[in-house]
Symmetry: C2
Subunit: 137 residues, 2 copies
DNA sequence: CTATCTGCAAACAATTTGCATGTCG
DNA sequence: CGACATGCAAATTGTTTGCAGATAG
């Protein structure tokens, strides 16, 4: 039994070939693909795969907290297998999205908000836009 | 001549009643409304106002850098007259969006990214989710 | 006057939904 | 076998566009 199969069953959802494929597609890349990209990537190997199934699977995986949805300001959502607290660096030239750890910063920032405002911070989404290494050369 | 009229003309766009209305609607609230909300807010006073005009005006104002578009993870964009560097606090209960200054934090964070990675940070969008004062009572 | 803007309706793109059929466990 | 998942097509939602008529400057 594959890792994906086991993970899906642990979350009490059926381990169908489509779900395993979508799960693996997301977990095998750090590119933060959107639904369309995942669909086009899987289509050659799964010719009967439907875009609606990709969307339904993404919704299910999100609800199981196996992936997280991110929005870097594009017209579609991207998906990330890393569900821990971290920020995203977005290259405004090539649109590449990469990860960066933020736990230290946000421990401090949230502490500051707690003591200076009446807002109780719980979690955050941080998008830092700029130019990546490849594009700045 | 109103303030709005002057500002629009300074940006070389015609100061139509619709544009003045949309401009004022955004500049008179800190609620970060979306297009639909602005439209419904203006409709009683401007019965002929069209949603398409609201969208076109928002696009124009954004291009003139008179407003900024923000995306707190909802299905529509919100608009903010504050175009300076700042973060947003989003109440996960009542969906209220408020502002908080972040310039000090992000001076440090961007410095750290510059020295530790090959990414050149330029600007950021920070969304901090939690519970606001009213909802925590 | 004329370049630009408005308002309508139609077009679009991302995502969701209903339902008949298929399949995992 | 039965509950749940897939795949198609149609529906929905937020947003954009084309164009004829209106208007700011």
């Amino acid at each position: 039994m594959t890792n994906a199969t086991q993970t899906l069953r642990n979350n009490n959802i059926k381990a169908t070939p489509q779900r395993i494929a979508v799960f693996n597609a997301i977990y095998s890349t750090n590119k933060h693909p959107n639904a369309e990209t995942i669909f086009r990537y899987l289509l050659p190997s799964y010719p009967s795969m439907s875009l609606a199934t990709v969307y339904k699977t993404l919704k299910t995986l999100k609800e199981c907290k196996l992936i997280q949805e991110i929005n870097v300001g594009e017209d579609s959502f991207r998906y990330d297998f890393n569900i821990t607290n971290h920020s995203h660096l977005i290259c405004i030239n090539c649109k590449d999205v990469s990860d960066i750890n933020n736990s230290n910063w946000f421990k401090i920032i949230k502490e500051e908000i707690r003591s200076n405002t009446s807002f109780t911070p719980l979690y955050e989404q941080v998008y830092i836009y700029g130019v990546c290494n490849e594009c700045s050369e």
